[in-house]
Amino acid sequence: MALLDISDLHLSMRSFEGETPILKGIDLTVERGQIWGVVGETGSGKSLTGLTISRLLPTTTARYTGGQVRFDGKDVLRASDREMRALRGGRIGMIFQDPTTNLNPSFRIGTQMVDAALHAARDKPEILGLTGRESRRARRRAAWDASVALLESFGLHDAADRMTRFPHEFSGGMRQRVLIAMAMIGQPDLLIADEPTTALDVSVQSQILRLIHRLVEERNIGVMFITHNLGVVAQLCSHVAVMYRGRIVERGPVTSVLKAPEHIYTRALMDAIPTARAQMDTLRGIDGPLRDRIEAEIAATAKEAAA
């Protein structure tokens, strides 16, 4: 059974002007040990796909109009809120783009780490080496020790001292490491990373990518890595799904998709990247006529599929 299996997922968002379809039939399967890069432009629906898996979208505006999301066989869209709370931070870990807004500025890093650890340990006490019958104090101590050990293994020196500090005392790269540690403390099977390195310097970015890669090798987890940077996908991911306006237009192993892109949109994205090798006047943006051709090709494919 696949770790994550999204099939024909449709999502609509309600607003004053009516209901707009956002995701138009997403199919994606993530196995353990795979790092799936989900790429696309702003508004293509890549983040919403990520949020759907842990069902973090507000149900007042978002409506699932079709399809299924199965996590380890369990239908996520029909699970109870209680089951979802256990999944989030337990079996599904999440990291987001902005390491500043995702940490509470008024609590020490340690307090926040321990909270995350104890939440995950409610269902899986063994991750902290507990049986579930220990006292509150013993559980807190175990959570603290596990947090320190994890932060140390992520390359944060003097982790015990750092745990007593506040988020503003950390650099962006260190904050992101803390957030990855918070996502990983529950020993999840699936990690959803939504643009985790976009706000960071390139040198810090490469450290974070190395860390995620190591986690996959050591723990055999599945990763869904959402980004708009094809360079990051090429470096880190094993597979890639290219999204355009709520659809996956091309998917496959990174080596084949990025080396020989078949879809016109994938090719257009590749042509727009200024690499160290790009010469003057060779970049091509996605202008009106090119967009029309992309739309036409997608419409043609949809028709073919329907026939």
């Binding site: 810090v204 940077n229 990051v232 470096q235 990174v254 200024p274 690499t275 160290a276 006047d281 943006g285």
Partner: protein
């Protein structure tokens, strides 16, 4: 050789010790011994990580900070202590485009008013009468690839790329000689970034602009600039023609930065050993 448009000599900047609400902050040295000379019509790139001093250097060039050591000369003249009129004339000759296209536009002003505001201040120096503002704004919008239908719209009706075009149009409204571009594309999608970079190249050719281009994306710098300086902890560690610095970096730090750029070719991945 003619005077360089921008000359920075021995520039140092120390943020002074300040007594604040939560105690005294110690003095911090942000820049040390910066020497940069930029010729007219050149594109000069500045690369460095966060906290390396890029912003402090920009503020010194704009005359918004008083250097602690050394000086900044624009067309042979210092950029500080100019008096009100002198400062206004200098502002007209150097303009800046910021990273966040949304934050740099007033949400309550139409595009016409946003761009025309620059003309209200500098119109007399440029010889543009009030009656000519709308004509000029239309010309500027056309130059950055926006049509006249956009004239009376508000910023929220535009995409990120279009907003950045509006910012560029506003900066160009006063016919500047030096354009400082502070990460102008890092908030944009690659497809849109390519359009903006191409636009900037075309404008430079047409208007003979000089660019001071700040970015942490080395691909962008390589694509846009003639020369580049690499800044680390307030010091220029390496400076020279783009091809030379990128192909044969002499400094460990530059090499490290280059190696950290994720290349879109999967074969060049140091992580991928699993196949």
């Amino acid at each position: 050789m003619s005077t360089p448009l921008l000359k920075i000599e021995g520039l140092g900047h120390v943020y002074g010790a300040r007594r604040g609400l939560f105690g005294t902050s110690p003095a911090f040295r942000a820049l040390t011994g910066i020497d940069i000379s930029i010729a007219r019509g050149e594109s000069f790139g500045l690369v460095g990580e966060s906290g390396s001093g890029k912003t402090t250097l920009t503020r010194n060039i704009l005359g918004l900070e008083r250097p602690s050591e050394g000086h900044v000369l624009f067309d042979g003249h210092p950029v500080i202590d100019l008096g009100r009129g002198g400062e206004r004339r200098l502002r007209r000759r150097m303009q800046i485009v910021f990273q966040d296209p949304q934050a740099s536009l007033d949400p309550r002003m139409t595009i016409h008013d946003t761009i025309a505001e620059a003309l209200v201040v500098h119109g007399p120096d440029l010889g543009i009468a009030r009656s000519g503002y709308t004509r000029r704004v239309l010309d500027l919008l056309e130059a950055v690839g926006l049509g006249r239908e956009h004239l009376y719209r508000h910023p929220h009706e535009f995409s990120g790329g279009q907003r950045q075009r509006i910012n560029i149009a506003r900066a160009l409204a006063v016919e500047p000689e030096l354009l400082i571009l502070d990460e102008p594309t890092s908030a944009l999608d690659v497809s849109v970034q390519a359009d903006i970079l191409n636009l900037l190249q075309r404008l430079q050719k047409e208007l003979g602009l000089t660019y001071f281009f700040i970015s942490h994306d080395l691909g962008v710098i390589r694509y846009t600039c003639d020369r580049v300086a690499v800044i680390e902890r307030g010091r220029i560690v390496e400076q020279g023609p783009v091809a030379e610095i990128f192909d044969t970096p002499s400094q460990e730090y530059t090499r490290k930065l280059m190696d950290a750029i994720p290349d879109p070719d999967p074969d060049l991945s140091p992580l991928r050993r699993l196949g």
